[in-house]
């Protein structure tokens, strides 16, 4: 009895002597229901070469071997190699698999002649006139029953000055290559929620995909139906999770198969929000920090800072004997500058925290904030243009204290440089402030540190490389020209913000905003002319009134924004606790959808089940207000709302029907979920 299985289990392993068969093939090994050979692309190889090795299977008709994820049963083929030192071989390049359905089970594998390619690398310093390759392959071949087997293969290839292709191997290698999925550089995201796997992939070739294969084992329920949907430029996939699913790898291969059988392979990455947020910020982070440092550097060229820098440069050049002291001073100065910027950032963050604590959140999504930032950048631009000077008072207050000596003196010189330079730096600081209020605290802090380091950089460089002093330009009129020139980027930034505001609030609101900007210009002009004469209080008073007016006109805007934003997407409105409470009090049915940009499950649900014509019709029929909350930045109010429903994450769908307890919808929505739930609730 057992002997019978053993004969099936183990295929006799006859090691072939080199020369016994053609050098490019190990020769066929006959196992039960399958014969196998190992084939080399080249019959002679040379050092520094890469070549394909093919494990070539010809199973009996209707028998199959398995893919890297064999599905519900079965076993992936494996090869273990024995190679000379320095020679390396890559993983098996899996062909596009086929699905074998044996209800209720599903397997992934290969029927008919199958070529498993692996890439061999011969090192450039390979010595020896022969390359001996040994491979042990383990496979499971199944029809209805399964037979595991293994075999050893040996190949000996001569090594020469030139590589010689093997004519007889060409067909096998080509057939192997033709069945490989086309590798794509696009990468998709997946997540797992509500017992389903959901993925979104952008940038796929324009073909009709019919099927997908997940390479991770025990992740999807292989036999469950696959959903493939192309919507708004991306392919959305969904399949139930495997009963034996325990944890998902961060990345795995996905093979998508088109209607003509061509496979495409790509990598899927777990989208868990945190990774996504880090990815999006760290991508731009270095650029932002570099720009901040460059901004800090430019501060030194401003008329109020550069003369100081020049003096410092001269003194350094003159006193070459006190190098150590100069270096220490430069470091203290740097510390002073950086700490000043950091405290400014902390102050700002504290203000922001206080602001959001009273429900006054800073969000770039808010047209109000966009309008105020547009005012700020415009005013700062006017300041650079010379219409008005901000921070003159601070300059005169601090100038005396920069004379102090020693470490403490240097430190406070740094602190004061920041303060003293404010008439010129304020415009740039304004830009940085504007950026920082919309960013996570850590990023805002980093930006200010970079700004400080940039500003202190010339002093540091001068202390360590005194020769640079010669390279510094002489102070002069060019400094003022530069300052005025730098006003224009600020004007352009203001234009951009006006455009953003226009997108949010419409063309009427833009007219209001532009009127406000005219009022700002008038206020700056009045205040600027008063700065020179310091005569009378009418001009600053009028300027203040104009400033108030410019802010007050924005009060006209919110009323007009609501219908405009609603019109652009009549189907939903932004969620807020107040809005929800109001709607519920007035006895209206409400659908709440908590979502986030990085939540793939949310995306698929919206496209499959919420943004469809039938769901829109159902919402209209039952007069349901659809509120959407965006948790992309982990908004605290939404977090609290999620906790109310014992959830730590999105998606969350809650349907409020007047007079009934709120109904939480499943995390995986089908096209009919919403309509059916509404039908049921309305008839209760």
């Amino acid at each position: 009895m057992l002997g019978k299985f053993f004969s099936a289990l183990l295929v006799s392993c006859c090691l072939l002597l080199s020369g016994a068969v053609a050098a490019h093939s190990s020769g066929w090994q006959q196992a039960k229901h399958l014969k196998a050979e190992l084939v080399s692309e080249y019959q002679q190889v040379m050092p520094g070469q890469q070549l394909w090795l093919a494990l070539h299977f010809i199973p009996d008709e209707h028998w199959h071997t398995y893919w890297q994820n064999p599905g519900d049963s079965g076993l992936a083929t494996s090869i273990s190699w024995q190679l000379p030192d320095g020679v390396t071989v890559g993983d098996i390049q899996w062909p596009t698999p086929q699905a074998f359905s044996i209800p209720p089970l599903m397997n992934y594998g290969f029927e008919g002649p199958t070529v498993l390619l692996s890439q061999l690398t011969v090192p450039a310093d390979f010595r020896g006139d022969q390359l001996s390759i040994r491979a042990r392959a383990d496979w499971l071949v199944c029809e209805e029953i399964c037979i595991p087997a293994d075999a050893e293969f040996a190949l000996t290839l001569p090594v020469g000055q030139a590589a010689v292709l093997s004519d007889s191997a060409t067909a096998v290698i080509a057939s192997g290559n033709s069945k490989l999925p086309i590798p794509l550089t696009v990468s998709g995201s997946f997540d797992l929620a509500g017992g389903s796997f959901s993925a979104a992939i952008r940038g796929l070739p324009d073909v009709d995909f019919q099927q997908f294969f997940v390479a991770a084992t025990e992740l999807v329920d292989h036999a469950a139906a696959q959903q493939l949907l192309f919507s708004e430029g991306e392919w959305l996939l969904r399949q139930n999770l495997n009963t034996y699913f325990t944890s998902a790898p961060e990345h795995f291969e996905l093979v998508m198969v088109s209607s003509n059988g061509q496979g495409y392979s790509l990598s899927l990455t777990l989208a868990d929000g945190t990774a996504e947020m880090l990815a999006t910020t760290s991508q731009g982070l270095w650029f932002v920090l570099l720009m901040a440092a460059a901004g800090g550097l430019i501060l030194n060229l401003m008329p109020c800072v550069f003369p100081v820098l020049s003096l410092k440069a001269l003194s350094i050049a003159a006193n070459s004997g006190q190098r150590a002291e100069q270096r220490r001073d430069a470091l203290w100065y740097t510390l002073g500058v950086v700490l000043s910027f950091v405290s400014l950032a902390l102050l700002l963050l504290a203000l922001r925290a206080a602001g959001s604590a009273v429900g006054w959140g800073f969000q770039l999504q808010s047209p109000w904030l966009v309008a105020l930032l547009a005012y700020l950048l415009f005013a700062l631009g006017l300041s650079l243009s010379g219409v008005v000077q901000f921070g003159l008072g601070l300059m005169s207050a601090g100038s005396g204290l920069t004379q102090s000596k020693g470490a403490k003196g240097s430190f406070f010189t740094g602190v004061l440089a920041v303060v003293v330079a404010s008439p010129c730096t304020a415009p740039f600081m304004g830009g940085a402030l504007g950026y920082a209020v919309t960013q996570p605290p850590l990023l805002a802090l980093l930006v200010f540190v970079a700004l400080g380091l940039g500003m202190a950089l010339p002093f540091l460089l001068l202390a360590y490389l005194p020769a640079l002093a010669q390279a510094l330009p002489k102070p002069g009129a060019w400094m003022d020209t530069l300052k005025q020139l730098l006003a224009f980027p600020l004007y352009l930034s203001a234009v951009w913000l006006v455009w953003v505001f226009g997108r949010q609030a419409g063309i009427d609101a833009v007219a209001v905003l532009l009127c406000g900007m005219v009022a700002i210009a008038a206020a700056c002009w009045l205040y600027g002319s008063w700065q020179f004469s310091r005569a009378g209080w009418s001009r600053p008073l009028l300027a203040a009134l104009l400033l108030l007016l410019s802010v007050a006109v924005l009060r006209l805007v919110p009323d007009s924004t609501a219908p405009v934003t609603a019109a652009t997407d009549a189907h939903w409105q932004a969620w807020s606790p107040d809005k929800l409470a109001q709607l519920r009090q007035s006895g209206k049915p409400v659908l709440v959808n908590m979502t986030a940009d990085w939540c793939i499950t949310c995306l698929v649900n919206e496209r499959v089940a919420l943004n469809t014509d039938s769901s829109k019709a159902a919402l209209a029929l039952y007069d349901v207000t659809y509120l959407k909350g965006d948790w992309t930045r982990r908004d605290a109010e939404i977090t609290a709302y999620l906790h109310q429903y014992q959830r730590d994450g999105v998606p969350l769908y809650v349907l409020y029907w007047p007079g009934q307890t709120p109904e939480v919808l499943p995390q995986i929505l089908t096209p009919d979920t919403l309509r059916q739930t509404l039908e049921r609730l309305s008839s209760q």
């Binding site: 289990l9 089970l105 397997n107 399964c146 017992g195 329920d221 089908t670």
Partner: protein, 199 residues
């Protein structure tokens, strides 16, 4: 949307699929009422107060053969001697590979020195599908309260080679030991490996 390929059927199937509750560790094990090789009827509730092991088997499957070199018999003896109920379940449909009659079943038990409490004939596959059993072998541990505590593979190395048993982490044996000690197995769910069940 020229490629709007939403398969309504697929969606319906997904929905229907999620209604048929899959077995879940920590939840009551799916109920069953089945006949053993001697024609005797067994129900899960008959074993209340006892730990129960379910082993899906197919005597011709090389992965089963691997473990019937002694490993499986040893586990059966160890556990049944500690008052564990061990049910070897055959879900092969009549006419399919691995389906056996009473005589063959008894012969297999005695020739292999197997020691299950009973050999279950699940010819219609109802019990197998309720447990989402996929492979032979496929192991489950149910505690005295009828709660499913373990489901998955017998060990960590999916191969048909006897010599791998000693190298593998014995997931199932560890799980059974934990349940006997009143603890929750870790891991409680593993990848089942072997031949497909011939439903």
């Amino acid at each position: 949307m020229k490629k709007m390929k939403l398969l309504a059927l697929a969606a319906a199937a997904v929905f229907a699929g999620s209604l048929a509750a899959a077995p879940q560790v920590g939840q009551p094990a799916p109920a069953f009422t089945v006949k053993d090789s001697a024609g005797q009827v067994h129900s899960l509730q008959d074993f209340a107060g006892k730990n129960v092991v379910l082993e899906w088997t197919n005597h011709d499957c090389p992965f089963v053969v691997k473990h019937y070199q002694g490993n499986m018999q040893q586990l059966q003896q160890d556990l049944t001697s500690q008052d564990v109920v061990w049910l070897s379940v055959i879900s092969s449909a009549p006419g399919k590979q691995g389906h056996v009659n009473q005589a063959k079943s008894d012969e297999l038990t005695s020739s292999r020195g197997a020691a299950p409490t009973a050999v279950i004939f699940d010819e219609d596959g109802v019990m197998g599908k309720a447990y989402d059993a996929r492979t032979t072998p496929h192991m489950y541990v149910i505690d005295k309260n009828g709660v499913l505590q373990y489901m998955g593979g017998i060990d960590s190395i999916p191969s048909a080679k006897v010599e791998d048993i000693a190298k593998a982490t014995p997931y199932f044996a560890n799980a059974a030991k934990a349940v006997l000690a009143g603890q929750a197995p870790d891991p409680a769910v593993t990848r089942p490996y072997g031949c497909s069940i011939k439903y």
